[in-house]
Each structure stands twice: as structure tokens, then as C-alpha cells.
Subunit: 385 residues, 2 copies
């Protein structure tokens, strides 16, 4: 297997981008990525997008995007695993480079969600749940995560305030990120007094509906060295795993098996343990998700996600910063772009280009991107060499 | 790059399968594939499906399918490139094995199209065209291929009867295939007297709306040898390419650039020319498509697709049999499954298990799977060793 490096990153601003279409967003992120990489070579493209069909009446992005990028004839493929589509696109690009099939592969993530009304967006997102046994009966993702939140509170004593503190911390970070959809600081009160969505989750517990795109350019470590990339950012581990799609079919709805397994696989491939990781971008689609994910990753013990957040462990200046970018909560969550954007943030940190949100001495990062209520997960380990 | 073999194939019957759901179809094909392979080892799964969101309200097949297959926690990803989704799923599986990321990868294709009405199915399929510049203005795939057919008739003198002869030949082959949706022989008259769809194309020029699934199991050649597989069927070449998605943006709507380039790339990788190939499964979504594809592949000169078909070149007992399976036209076209099913047929032929439709001395095959009006294409070269 050839070693793989990331030599370019690019992102659009995240938000309600009424003036930009799906193809505009993808092209903007890709061009920024090429400018950052200092090369315009692309041998192949992978595209993470959850549901262009339902949001935009547009499948076949594999044909659309290369053309609008000015790369007609370039091999391309779309990759989907619900909200983990972006991370899976990077994984696909990694294997294409690692195998020797292509030398320079652009991994792009994009979602244009605001072209449909809010209720249609919620219905489109619900196709990431089990259609026959969940979504068709009326439950959607705020409802599914609310079930997990309530169970977590019951079993571990996690408090409503601890959930809110995840959002407060991520907005504090996101306020320092020029890409953020909601770059404002909030308080616990902001969260608790926001409209109820699915008890116990309120509006400010939920990541927003977002338009946006992100891209990374991958090549071999040998090629990256030839280009003189310093620091050299490598993908040293990747792990993917799945779990049953329906929450009701899990032995324990507080156990995120796909996340645990993906982490084990990625860390093993990188020859590391979680203690070797300095910071992580994780999939905080809801506040409870971040708490459960840091437990599943082994950063804290099961049940300790809430207290650890309250104690500042995961703050930008804490012992294990989580979501320095602002996470899905503040930066925004254009579904297919999210996994790629997490990697953009990790690379920015590893290159020490994160400005006011820079983590000191950043050398080793983990990104965790998941689909649905944890039905799929992909984890990348990135290192600055 | 590790060498890759196909050690198992499995297919459902193609048709209007009212009694089977999307997940049922996927699981049935996968289990048949494992039974055929004589192993139940799967390290990872790739799933080709065009638009589960629009047909079934179900994205996130990467989570759904492993679970229903009894393989909870297995890494999986869905791959989409419109009607080339199946072929791209096999390509993704190939790279996963070739890279060393996984040793046994199941490539599955599935589409359940009959759960929506015919007009909704046509609208869902139209998302493979350019949404902003084609589909939203009312043109759909019968219309786009009709434009190509009319131009082909005008430029080359291709006749209405020659188009019909593609369907007649494919139904003759499909009548010998137990998987076929429409296993009946037809005549030129059947085609010409069928209802007009988009002039000059009639109902019997069009591939049907189909439910179905197909699967192949890939591993390294070394593993396949250990399992004693005889004959050893290897994937010796893969080529992918794209073209502008909108027909109106092409320099020449009779030139299928993505097909030409994908063929060149696949043949180069296999160290072959088209003259070394004995037969092919090609993407006959419409009769005109098969004629244009055999021209783009270099099997006949541009403009000679019609006369060559009429002369029997592409018949089962011709010099270059095309679509021994019956093709999309007779066997059926469950979009995401088609590219995988083409490879199942090629393997069946290379193993000499095709019964009455067996091609003599079959040793080298090509499969050509394309998306939209030729906006994407993936080609595999298979050899029996």
C-alpha cells in the first residue's frame, strides 16, 4: 500500500448560500483546494454527497462536477453513507491513491440543503434512517437523538446543562472560524430557552441546515515530498464500520458500536492509541452526539462525556480539544461536505494555520464522521511529519 | 497493486418483484454470491445504487445492507454514478482489494424501481441528466437518446429497422437467460408497431423499469488460488471516464467520449486492444445506445453499428457477440444492479456455465456500463486464466 498525503484543502463558507448552486459550491471548494495545493493535477475525483436527488433533483454528480470544474473526462464517482458521505469520499480517494490506480485524487464533499423547505429537508435527512421501520412511521433524526439523550440522562445522570455546554463550547470555537454558518457565542441560557425540537433537545442542541462544500487533494507521500510540502500531512490510519441502521434493533442505544470499531481499526492502522491523539473533529450533529462520541472513542469513560465537557476537557485550551472548528453545531452541517470539512480543519491545525483557534503543538489529529444515528462511521488519523 | 480475482457471483431474477423489498433483493443476491464463492468471508462491501432516495425513500444503504445480510459492523459504502453505479461499485471494490485495505470485498448492485409510478420513475431517472439545463426543462432519457438516434440516422443513414434489430437480437439472447425480465423473442415488427415513446424510439427500443440485484465477490488472485478456483477469473483492466452531463454541451452528440476514453484506459491497463476481446456486455439502455457504444469501443467504425448489427456481427454466433445475457433490453435494467450483472454474465461465460447462450471458447470479455446519456462510463476487462 502506498503512503498517502494531503497536499491541498479548500472550503466554501458554510451557510444559507442562496446565490450559489450545488455545482457552484463544489467548483468553488475544488478551485480553492487546487490553489492551496499549488498544483492543478487531478487524475480522479470522489464526491461525497448524501442526497442530491432529494435536495436538488440532481444525481450523477460524477458527471456534472468534473465538467463544471473544467475537468471533462476525468474519472469520478459519488460516494454516499448518509452524513458520513464526505469521510467515505476521502477514504475512497485514499484507496485509489494507495492502490496505484491514480496518483492525484480530489476528494470533494458537497450538499445544497436550502433549496427545499425545512420540512422537506427533515424528510430528506430521514432517508438516512431505516425507511421501513423508522422514517415511514414518523420518527426523524431529532427524535432518534432525543431518545439517546433521554436514555443517557437516565442511565448516567447527564444533565440538560451539560448537553447545552457542548453547544456553548462549539459556538465559542466556531466564532473564531471564518467558514462558520453561525459564528456567534452563545450561553447555556441561549440553548435552554430556545424552542423545543424533540424533548430534551432544543433548537440550539441541533446542527443547522447548511449549504457548503469542502475539498482535499490527496497524493502519494513521495509526490508530496517532490512538491516540497512542509509540514507533510499524512493519513496514517483509516477505519470504517457500520451498525444496524434502526436504533430499535441495537442491543444498547447508548453504545455506538460503529464508532468504537472504526476507531479501533483506524488507530491500529496508524499504530497508535487514543492517548496518542491530541485533538479531534467529531460529528456533533446534536449535542448528545458529541458526548456519546467522545465516550465511544475512549477519550472519556462511558457516562463521563457530560461532566468532562462541563469541566473543560474538550475546550480549545482543554486537555483534549474537540471540534476546534466549531463543529457541525456552529460551523454548519452541509451533510456530504462535513466529513471533508473535518479533515480540512485537522490539516489547518496540523499546518498551524488556524489563527485564534490554533491548538498548540498540533501534530496528531483524529476526525470522526458518522451517518444516521451511528449506523455508519469513518475515522481518519492525520499526522504532521 | 495486488492482482484481483472474482470468486463469486449472484443475481436475483430481474423483473417487477412486488413481493421483495430493496433490502430483500440486495440480501438475496449477496447470499447467492457467497454460496457460489464457497466462502462466507466479507471484509467490506460496496453498493451500487442510483437513487434509493427517490425510488424508495431510503439512502444510507451502507448501514442497511450489511445489517440485513447478517454482517453488522462490516465497513460498507454506497457508490453512485447514475446507471453506471454498479460498475463503479465493482471498481471501488477492486481498488479496496488492490490497495490492501481489505482482502474480500463484496460488490453489490441493487435498484427497486417499481415502488413508484411510471412517471415518477422517469422523473427519478432524469436526475441523471443535467438538472438545471436539461431535466427541469422537461427532457428525459428517451428524449435525449431519441435526439442521438435521429442524428445518427441523419449522418450515417442508420435505419429504423437496424435499431429494431438490436432489440430483436437482445431478446433472442435474453430468452435463454433465466434471470431475464422479458425472456421472449420478438420481431422487427414487434418493435416498429410498439407505442411511440420519443420519435424515432418506440417502446421496444427502451430498456424496462426493473427491480433486481446482483453481486460479485472480489479477492486477491493469491487468495483465489488458495481456494482452488478454476478457471481463475481476473479483472485485468479497469477504465473510467466522464463527459459533460448535458448533451447540448458536447461538441458532437454522436461521439461518446467517456466510452472511448474508458475503453482506452481499461485496455491499456490489461495490455490489450479491442481485437483481443471476444465478446462484450454493453449498456443498451436504448437500441441506439448499443449501436453507438460498439462504435465508441472500436468494434466497428463510426456509422457502422447499424449495418453490422443487421449483418449478424453482434449475434450470439457472430464474430463479436454483444450482450449474450440479453442486455438491459431483455434481461432488464435495475439501474444500480446493471453494471454488476454485466460482470456476472461475463464471469458465467468465462466459466463456460452459460448453457444455451454459451459463447464458444470464451476467455476474454469486456463490460461497458454508462451513466446518463454517456456522461460517465466504466469498463472492465475480464479474463479466464
Amino acid at each position: 500500500m502506498r503512503d498517502v498525503a494531503i497536499i491541498g484543502i479548500g472550503m466554501t463558507k458554510f451557510g444559507e448560500l442562496w446565490e450559489k448552486s450545488l455545482r457552484d459550491l463544489a467548483v468553488e471548494a475544488a478551485l480553492k483546494c487546487l490553489a492551496d495545493a499549488g498544483t492543478d493535477r487531478i487524475d480522479s475525483i470522489t464526491i461525497g454527497c448524501m442526497t442530491g436527488g432529494l435536495f436538488n433533483g440532481q444525481e450523477h454528480l460524477a458527471s456534472l462536477i468534473p465538467d463544471y470544474l473544467g475537468r471533462r473526462n476525468t474519472p469520478a464517482v459519488r460516494v454516499e453513507s448518509a452524513c458520513a458521505s464526505g469521510g467515505m469520499a476521502v477514504r475512497a480517494a485514499f484507496m485509489e491513491v494507495a492502490s496505484g490506480m491514480s496518483d492525484y485524487v480530489l476528494a470533494l464533499g458537497v450538499e445544497k440543503m436550502n433549496d427545499v423547505s425545512g420540512d422537506l429537508a427533515t424528510a430528506a435527512l430521514a432517508t438516512a434512517a431505516d425507511g421501513d421501520y423508522e422514517a415511514f412511521h414518523g420518527i426523524n433524526f431529532p427524535g432518534l437523538y432525543a431518545l439517546m439523550a433521554r436514555a443517557h440522562m437516565e442511565k448516567y445522570g447527564t444533565t440538560r446543562e451539560q448537553l447545552a455546554l457542548v453547544a456553548v463550547k462549539n459556538h465559542r470555537n466556531g466564532a473564531l472560524n471564518p467558514h462558520s454558518q453561525f459564528p456567534m457565542e452563545i450561553t447555556v441560557d441561549t440553548v435552554l430557552k430556545s424552542a423545543g425540537v424533540a424533548d430534551p433537545l432544543c433548537l440550539f442542541d441541533c446542527s443547522p441546515v447548511t449549504d457548503g462544500a469542502a475539498a482535499v487533494l490527496l497524493t502519494t507521500v513521495d509526490e508530496a515530498k517532490k512538491l516540497g510540502k512542509q509540514p507533510l500531512v499524512v493519513i496514517s490510519g483509516i477505519g470504517a464500520a457500520t451498525d444496524t441502521i434502526a436504533l430499535s434493533q441495537r442491543k444498547d442505544i447508548l453504545k455506538l458500536e460503529a464508532i468504537e470499531l472504526a476507531a479501533q481499526r483506524a488507530l491500529k492502522m496508524a499504530g497508535k492509541t487514543i492517548k496518542d491523539i491530541q485533538f479531534a473533529e467529531v460529528h456533533d450533529c446534536f449535542t448528545i452526539a458529541e458526548i456519546m462520541v467522545i465516550e465511544a472513542l475512549g477519550i472519556v469513560e462511558p457516562g463521563q462525556g457530560g461532566p468532562a465537557t462541563a469541566a473543560g476537557l474538550t475546550a480549545l485550551d482543554g486537555k483534549f480539544p474537540i471540534n476546534p472548528s466549531g463543529g457541525l453545531k456552529s460551523k454548519g452541517h452541509p451533510v456530504g461536505a462535513t466529513g471533508v470539512a473535518q479533515i480540512c480543519e485537522a490539516v489547518t491545525q496540523l499546518r498551524r494555520q488556524a489563527g485564534k483557534r490554533q491548538i498548540k503543538n498540533a501534530k496528531t489529529a483524529l476526525t470522526q464522521n458518522m451517518g444516521g444515528s451511528g449506523g455508519s462511521c469513518v475515522i481518519h488519523i492525520l499526522e504532521a511529519k
